[in-house]
Symmetry: C2
Subunit: 346 residues, 2 copies
DNA sequence: CTGAAAGCGCTTACAG
DNA sequence: CTGAAAGCGCTTACAG
């Protein structure tokens, strides 16, 4: 494989000049640049990123660590981050941790520190007691709710407010027995806790008493199957309810499935709302009302903050940005008289 | 940040000895090893992977390049490859290409050649005329149908046979007007072409003439919305049909949505079948019959083949492995009298 | 079982 | 506008 030195020799210059050409250094005679580029082309030269990295510390690569790609929220988040980073000329490597503690610590331990310029990290296993691990010597931007107010920049969903809005939407429709799927007993911090707070706040403001029978814990992984299981337990218990709030869309879609199986009419008997606004919400029957959490904004902001830190800019203190959410009303709560339903996709 | 030399100094040895300890070299006095490990611990030393890489060429990292994570098939494939690679002690970096030609060429050009020990690559933009680009000087395993019989190891779905099985399943149910969504006119090779071949073969065997009105092209990206659009066009055209075969599950689910909107009963009026067996198939109403393409096997085989190539083993000639598929019959084709429908999730 | 020397392929800092 | 020297932090090849 050709090295920079080979290119230099062929072009009749020093390797410094080749390096200058490749790095866009402006003060190069046009004829020199042309000769260098020709030599690069002829030799099929590709720079060795490890070597450049070893010397300069830069790689042009950032890492995005998330729990699991099978959860649509994270898959869509990845695509959005890749998009935002690409606009800045960066490559993203995605590092799924499986929500495994050890692999999440790896992200922070710096094992791959030298491969990337910075890291965007959405933890699942690590919690609020472990903020000390975030004290790292590389640019790091945190996502999610597991560790708030840590020592780094942080981009988060306005979870409590969004959950309150979702609950209020159901209350506005006249629902009073609203089940939630997503509680995580024992969790001190995390999306589950914060969203539950928002739910409870809305109930309290409406003068409705908390009923623990309506608060369901589907487990750590918010897949469809967990939502289906939780809903089945609620039905089996015979608890009365007229609405369901899934703390993410896959939980809500799993619950919706079980409700339809049981013969409930949606939303007449039970209104259903989710959270994340994944693509699939538009295609369930009926389409699922959801909270759009500001995914694009989260991705863009995380990349922007990281870019500043990598450039050594930004304020000394860490920043906490909360993205803007939107309630997306669809038929799973709003309903439509079936006569006016269109065959067109909403 | 501490270097190997710092560790060596602290332990009173040479950096070679530190290197030996870290790389599991067996012939080290136990007391020496203990001193080195203690020094590593005290200094919080982390090896610089770029430096090791520059010298040795090994990184312990493999790249997986796929079009887009928002497509559930690829998200689930990623998780499966990460799992299979992790069992071998490898880290995976995921490189979404967006199906953009230039970024797919980047994967092969070696820009990041020095960051990874090998690459697993599922192209979308690159096609059969471009097999020459696969002639690279690093271990590469190809996935998908875009470039068959290239110069590298290849793992593929038994697409034609699987599509034939899916079509035969519909024929066995007595369906005769089977629409397909997923054709890609102008494509010379790819999943669309091969699956269409399988469909046509099944029809021919059953003595049914091809009807181009039933062959729908949803575009390059097989998202739900593309499936919905294609189905809407079919309905608008007034073409009669009694079954739909979506070339992937998201196309089928988009079509299913439009069919339900239009008031069709599934499967009584129209039977629907997909391809990929994504998690969501179990939660649509009705649940979607699909082809499980052997995802786990594909992931495991791709990693195994790559491991052999990285180790410099394996036969000189390239290998082509076809994964085993399974037809997963669910209610979108089989139906169930509603009386016997259980509230349980299948 | 361990060490001293050389070098992987770049970029930095300094000249000119 | 361009070059010669040094060095980033490891591992290889060779001694002992």
């Amino acid at each position: 494989m050709a090295t920079m030195r080979d290119v230099a020799r062929r072009a009749g210059v020093s390797s410094k000049t080749v390096s200058n050409v490749l790095n866009g250094y402006p003060y190069i005679k046009e004829s020199t640049r042309a000769r260098v580029l020709a030599a690069i082309d002829e030799l099929g030269y590709q720079m060795n990123i490890s070597a450049r990295n070893l010397r300069s510390g830069r790689t042009g690569i950032i890492a995005l660590a998330v729990p699991e790609l099978t959860l649509p929220y994270f898959a869509q988040l990845c695509d959005a981050v890749i998009e935002a980073a690409g606009a800045k000329g960066w490559t993203v490597i995605v590092e799924p941790t499986g929500g495994v503690r050890e692999r999440e610590l790896d992200v922070l331990s710096g094992v791959r520190r030298h491969l990337v310029d910075g890291v965007i990290f959405s933890p699942l296993a690590l919690g609020p007691d472990e903020a000390q691990y975030l004290q790292v010597d590389f640019p790091l931007v945190m996502l999610g709710e597991r560790i708030l107010h840590g020592p780094t920049d942080h981009v988060a969903i306005s979870n409590a407010e969004a959950a309150r809005t979702a609950t209020q939407h159901l209350l506005d429709l006249g629902r009073r027995r609203i089940a939630v799927i997503g509680a995580n007993p024992g969790e001190v911090a995390g999306a589950a806790t914060v969203r539950l707070d928002g739910y409870l706040a809305a109930l309290e403001a409406a003068g409705i008493k908390r009923d623990d029978d309506l608060i369901l814990a589907p487990g750590l992984w918010w897949h469809r199957t967990a939502g289906a299981g939780a809903m089945q337990r609620l039905l089996d218990a015979g608890t009365q309810f007229d609405a369901v709030f899934g703390f993410n869309d896959t939980l809500a879609l799993g619950a919706l499935h079980v409700l339809l199986r049981s013969g409930r009419r949606i939303p007449e008997d039970v209104a259903v709302i989710g959270f994340d606004d994944i693509e699939e919400t538009r295609f369930s029957m009926p389409p699922l009302t959801s909270i759009e959490p500001g995914r694009e904004q989260i991705a863009r902001t995380a990349v922007d903050l990281l870019a500043e830190r990598i450039a050594g800019k930004g304020p000394t203190e860490h920043r906490e940005i909360y993205a803007d959410f939107t309630l997306q009303v669809r038929e799973s709560t709003a309903g439509l008289p079936s006569a006016t339903r269109s065959a067109k996709t909403t």
